[in-house]
Amino acid sequence: MNAPVLSVRNLVTQFDTRAGTITAVDGVSLEVGPGEVLGIVGESGSGKTITGFSILGLIDKPGRIAGGEVLLNGQDLRKLSDRAMARLRGDRIAMIFQDPMMTLNPVLRIDTQMIETIRAHRDVSRSRARDMAAEALALVGIPSPVERLRTYPHEMSGGMRQRVVIAIALMLEPDLIIADEPTTALDVTIQSQILSEMQKLMAQRNTALIWITHDLTVVAGLAHRVAVMYAGRIVETGPVDALLDHPKHPYTRGLISSIPSSVPRGERLVPIKGMTPSLMNLPEGCAFAPRCPRASETCRKARPDRQDLATGRSLRCFHPLEEAS
Amino acid sequence: MTADTPLRRFVADFLASPLAVIAGLGLLAIALTALFAGIIAPQNPYDLAQIDILDGSLTPGTEGFGGFTYWLGSDEQGRDMLSAMIYGLRISLMVSFIAVTSAVAVGMVLGLLAAARGGWVETLIMRIVDIQLSFPALLVALLLLASLGKGVDKVIIALILVQWAYFARTVRAAALVEIRKDYVTAARAAALPQWRILFGHVLPNVMPPVLVIATVQIANAIAIEASLSFLGVGVPITEPSLGLLIANGFDYLLSGRYWISFYPGVALLVTLVCINVVGDHVRDILNPRMQR
């Protein structure tokens, strides 16, 4: 594997709330290489979004990044000044948000928002920036891009808007794009349109992509590698085929077997019992222990450390599932 | 997680801000003072038998002929300013409270009706609301009082007329949102009677914004009443509100007899600040988007 574009080590992000400190991201480590698509999956509240924001340095009060390092092409972003970080955002790392309805500023035209992004990072004339913007729109398959530039976000459908956001992300040819559930709010047909565009573009440009989602089926089709998050930690990572076909963490298996199509019609699903814990009072040991069918005393006492397996996989579990299962 | 009712949550959130607590306590004290004015006030300033013109215009702290001490001085009629203020507070609060509660009642019923009925009922009500709101409150009150004449009751009527529209609009807007929510659909799917859905399900959920506006409007009502009294069309001279006391004292401002206007002014200011602080805070708590 080439040198990773992004490498996150032991990232910890905490929120100081009135009721106490919440550790939303708890020692997350991950790597993405050029042209690679890393899927991060996990249930709601598992810390996927916060991980993304932490990488970008966009954690607001009362939150703070409490530890770890974020290396982009070997440079530690946490050591950068605010201004330097701002220069990087949108240029070297771009982010795509979940809800296309909320992401674009409703009172500014598309061209304003695209041009301001370009001119924040490149010293180009306004008209050159406009051309760049039009090109980017054309790239993501928006018909008649020059006219589209003059419209306001609300004049477009959700799918169109998400394409604009993707165009903005691609415009400056970043090294890394973080996409936070960008298709969850869209319809199946539109979702697959966008997935197909993304797939093509990433391959062309060799851009690293982190795709955050709660939908394993999307990850299955898109990602090269997958990281599964639970309660702020990555509990399992690995290449997509290996991880989905032979999950080692009971949680990963639980997620897979919760998908209706995973069992034949008429059979009962085998869901994970219980519900996601509140980050405020996590159990002492493994956070998944209370819901885990394989949990032992050890699991309730101690937190499992990360084990790296030979096959490019890693795991945090005392009682991993056997390969054969 | 136990017994965490919406009310308790609200109270807990409220207590989290020391400023709001102080203002809330201040408001409570003010309300109690007004409520028990008859017991607390050293004198009944409306009882002409109790006041003596011989004790007129005394400086604060002076002892009058009857051996009565005027802690905040007296006005030219020999009225104890402290008592006058307490009673004035009572009038001010009573006027605004009655006016706002009535306005809430009227506005709520009409707003709910508009939201639930739609069609021409809604159009009619909302057009009247628009008209009402496009007109400055003070002006409406002024003209109304000019045509109705003076009196506490008339001021209240004027204030209700001025304020109901705010509530009607708020309630309708909130109710339209609530009515579209699935819990209302569920209630309708369960074939609950219409009135029960409106008053049992929708109404409690539109109360928070109404409460917020109500606090603001109480402050507003007090201020409008004060302004009306200042302009000479408010409450009658014999039952002065704080505003009227200030207006009367205005004549004395330059005379050195500052206390006739100054203390009522301070009392009014403190009351309004307390209400507004509490109102602001309540709004912050109830606004889900401001919540962390």
């Binding site: 500023n105 301001e116 | 007109f135 003209l143 045509s147």
Partner: protein
């Protein structure tokens, strides 16, 4: 747009009609202006003669009929007191009020919006609390009391500014304005401040609430994620969004100031329409009161129109197309 105009005008017409009718009959019920106008020495015969001369001997509905007939010819009646067409009387006072209102609003906006944004962006900072405390006090003090205090402080004790009146005026396009001469301006400052303090508190509160809310929106975070400078994020993305409610309220408030100026004009002897109204109510000068009313409604409608148009400029989602309930 056309329907919107029609709706607006229809509404205005309705208000004018209703209010004019109520006030017409209301003032009739209050009393007889002749009791005030006539010299007390006048004997009964003379009183009757005057009543007849002013047309007040007719039954009220007949008087109303005359009024309507006059209205049809664009005649709003003639002041009982001043023997001038009511409209002309009011228009001659209008510039003073407009000048006061606009300067007041200007001060409120120029100071209020930045202060409110500061308080909204850093709600926990001490200076924000000071701003908010100030605005609560400003918002809570009755207007007339503020006016008195301003006079006491700046005119009586410090002697810096005059205590009331309008001062020298210069004609601009035939309209007398005072802000162009030093003397006029010095007379204008205190009353304008009196108007401004309350409005400013209001603007601060609105801006703060708006800023606090908008700052949490996805599109603001997205703007930062694109690497835009804080100045641009705050000055364009946040500002443009909070201007919408501020403009709406201010529009209504401008109308309010024009009508509300009663108090300020009384305290500062400012020769505007507010004072004219109060005096006319006091003298039961019905034509003036009724004309005043119709003119204010008209003004309100015009202002609301301007506000709505400004609104649609600021917020492309709102089209002045008709629906507005």
């Amino acid at each position: 747009m056309l329907a919107y105009l029609i709706r607006r005008l229809g509404q205005a017409f309705l208000v004018m009609a209703v209010m004019a009718t109520i006030v017409f009959f209301g003032l009739f019920a209050v009393g007889n202006p002749v009791d005030l106008l006539i010299n007390p020495e006048a004997d009964l015969a003379e009183q009757e003669e005057t009543i007849r001369r002013l047309g007040l001997d007719k039954p009220v509905h007949v008087q109303f009929g005359y009024f309507l007939a006059g209205l049809a010819q664009g005649d709003l009646g003639t002041s009982f007191v001043h023997n001038r067409p009511a409209l002309e009387l009011i228009l001659s006072r209008l510039p003073a009020t407009l000048e006061l209102a606009f300067l007041g609003i200007l001060i409120a906006v120029v100071l209020g919006i930045p202060l409110g944004m500061i308080a909204g962006l850093k709600p926990e900072a001490p200076y924000s609390k000071v701003i908010m405390a100030g605005s609560v006090v400003g918002f809570s003090t009755p207007n007339f009391w503020q006016g008195l205090m301003l006079i006491m402080l700046f005119a009586v004790f410090l002697g810096w500014l005059p205590a009331g009146g309008r001062g020298d005026t210069v004609d601009v396009l035939g309209i007398p304005v005072s802000f162009l001469t030093w003397d006029g301006l010095s007379h204008l400052i205190l009353p304008a401040l009196n108007v401004a303090i309350y409005k400013m508190s209001l603007v601060i509160r609105l801006t703060r609430a708006g800023t606090a809310e908008v700052a949490l929106q996805d599109y603001v975070k997205y703007a930062r994620a694109r690497g835009l400078s804080p100045v641009r994020v705050v000055g364009v993305h946040i500002l443009k969004n909070i201007l919408i409610p501020v403009v709406t309220v201010l529009g209504l408030e401008t109308g309010n100031v024009i009508a509300f100026a009663v108090v300020t004009e009384t305290v500062f002897s400012w020769p505007g329409i507010g004072k004219l109204l109060i005096d006319s109510i006091g003298l039961l000068d019905r034509p003036v009161v009724v004309a005043y009313l119709m003119l204010t409604v008209f003004l309100f409608v015009m202002i609301n129109l301007v506000v709505d148009i400004g609104y649609s400029l600021l917020d492309p989602r709102v089209r002045v197309k008709g629906g507005r309930s």
